[in-house]
């Protein structure tokens, strides 16, 4: 009987040790799964919004903002008229549009839908449809989530190596990763540029969006021709685009010449009126 009791105690002890070992292993595995899933799961809308805010704040530290209420209102209206008809009309914080006070000819979009156009680019637009072509191209990048794709994969893996608690705590290593992620995107927007495929896709999607909204898709071709002739002034970002000549090659056959319809003239008049009132 005593032998049986000893055996029973031994078995129970063995089981509890085995259970703790298994529990330990299970917890370790769960922790690994948690880290891996954090690394591989897609970035949420809310994360995209906060990344976008940091990227936009970074861009605004490099380029002055043109705080012109008349122009800001007009760019917002034209941009939203397009964004509402896009494949991604809603983002976490909504679309926002602003003008950078720079002579450079450039437009860029931060994650989540904060879109910038330079004064230089705005000044070479001759009508609203040309401005819409620029905005439609940038909105198409947001729809495709191209700015987020600019985060280097090693950075994503780096972020995945931290636990949720460590990341929420925002220690120095986490903040360094956070800031490097922002620089990954800003670097792509301002220097490196998107891939040629991403740019081509954005151009073609923009043509569809312009047409859906009732803008003249031919305005895109006009803008590309202007960009081609003002290449000396262009910002670095355009160097990574397919060359303007290449873009003209694939955009040209897709569009009809701009028809100077009554609607086009109405939009052209309000574009000129806004420029004149805003003094830009």
């Amino acid at each position: 009987m005593r032998k049986l009791a000893v055996l029973l105690v031994f078995l129970l002890a063995f089981q509890s040790v085995a259970f703790s070992i298994n529990l330990g292993k299970t917890l370790k595995t769960l922790n690994k799964v948690k880290k891996v899933s954090a690394a591989v799961r897609p970035i949420s809308e809310e994360e995209e919004y906060y990344i976008g805010r940091a990227v936009a704040a970074n861009i605004l530290s490099r380029y002055p903002l043109l705080k012109n209420e008349i122009l800001s209102r007009y760019i917002h209206l034209a941009g939203l008229a397009l964004a509402y008809r896009s494949q991604r009309p809603e983002t976490f914080g909504g679309y926002h549009f602003a003008v950078l006070d720079s002579d450079e000819i450039n437009a860029l979009s931060a994650p989540g839908g904060i879109i910038f156009i330079t004064r230089g680019l705005l000044q070479i637009c001759e009508n609203e449809d040309e401005l819409a072509a620029v905005l439609a191209h940038e909105i198409s990048h947001i729809v495709a989530r191209d700015p987020i794709k600019a985060i280097k994969s090693e950075r994503m893996k780096g972020l995945g190596a931290f636990t949720a608690g460590e990341l929420a705590g925002g220690g120095s290593e986490v903040m360094e990763l956070f800031q490097n992620t922002v620089l990954d995107i800003s670097g792509t927007l301002l220097q490196k540029g998107y891939s040629r495929t991403q740019e081509k896709d954005a151009d073609l999607a923009a043509l569809g969006l312009l047409d859906t909204c009732g803008y003249e898709a031919g305005a895109m071709l006009q803008m590309l021709k202007k960009l081609e002739s003002s290449e000396k002034k262009k910002a670095k970002v355009f160097s990574a685009h397919p060359s303007c000549a290449k873009r003209i090659e694939y955009v040209g056959p897709q569009v009809k010449a701009v028809s100077a319809s009554g609607a086009f003239a109405t939009r052209e008049a309000r574009f000129r009126n806004t420029r004149s009132k805003s003094g830009v």
């Binding site: 949420s44 936009a56 705080k67 914080g93 909504g94 972020l159 949720a164 608690g165």
Partner: protein, 158 residues
């Protein structure tokens, strides 16, 4: 009890559990608002009138899919349309009926998991290389949908 009978009983239990899960999933798909603010609209069109304002985390019942839009019903009984880009499916309404489970906390965890949050943004505010003051100027310039509608009509857009 014979081994075969035991196995049979076990199989039956698993089958019952599986069927219960399938029934629960089929009971209705729930949607959760994933953007800061949006609206239930009277038509599947952004320029149609708003029937109810919604905020992040609000739950909706999915009734139908129409292109890029969902026909939904709010807990207060308002039926209308919401664009797919404003919501995410929860797969089922199970999370809503299980006590102590909130999808918002899942979102918070997911957000913290990559470190991009309001709290971490505060830590970089004021540091070199970020101009949040001008960003706030940009973000404060929203435009009511009614004005966008007027702009579209005036420019004879679609």
């Amino acid at each position: 009890m014979a081994i075969n009978e035991r196995q049979c009983m076990r199989k039956k239990r698993w089958l019952t559990a599986f069927l219960l899960c399938v029934l629960a999933l089929a009971a209705g798909k729930a949607l959760v608002v994933k953007v800061q603010q949006t609206n239930i609209l009277s038509k599947p069109d952004f320029l149609s009138s708003s029937l109810q304002a919604l905020k992040k985390g609000d739950r909706l019942e999915l009734e139908e899919e129409t292109g890029g839009w969902y026909l939904v019903k709010s807990p207060s009984g308002v039926r209308g349309y919401i664009h797919k880009s404003a919501v995410e499916t929860t797969g089922s309404s199970l999370t809503g009926i299980m006590p102590g489970q909130k999808s918002a906390s899942d979102q918070e965890v997911a957000l913290a998991a990559k470190g991009f949050s309001e709290e971490n943004e505060k830590k970089i505010k004021g540091s070199k290389g970020y101009n949040f003051a001008d960003l706030e100027w940009v973000m404060s310039h929203g435009m009511p949908r009614a004005e966008v509608k007027g702009f579209i009509q005036e420019g004879r857009l679609k």
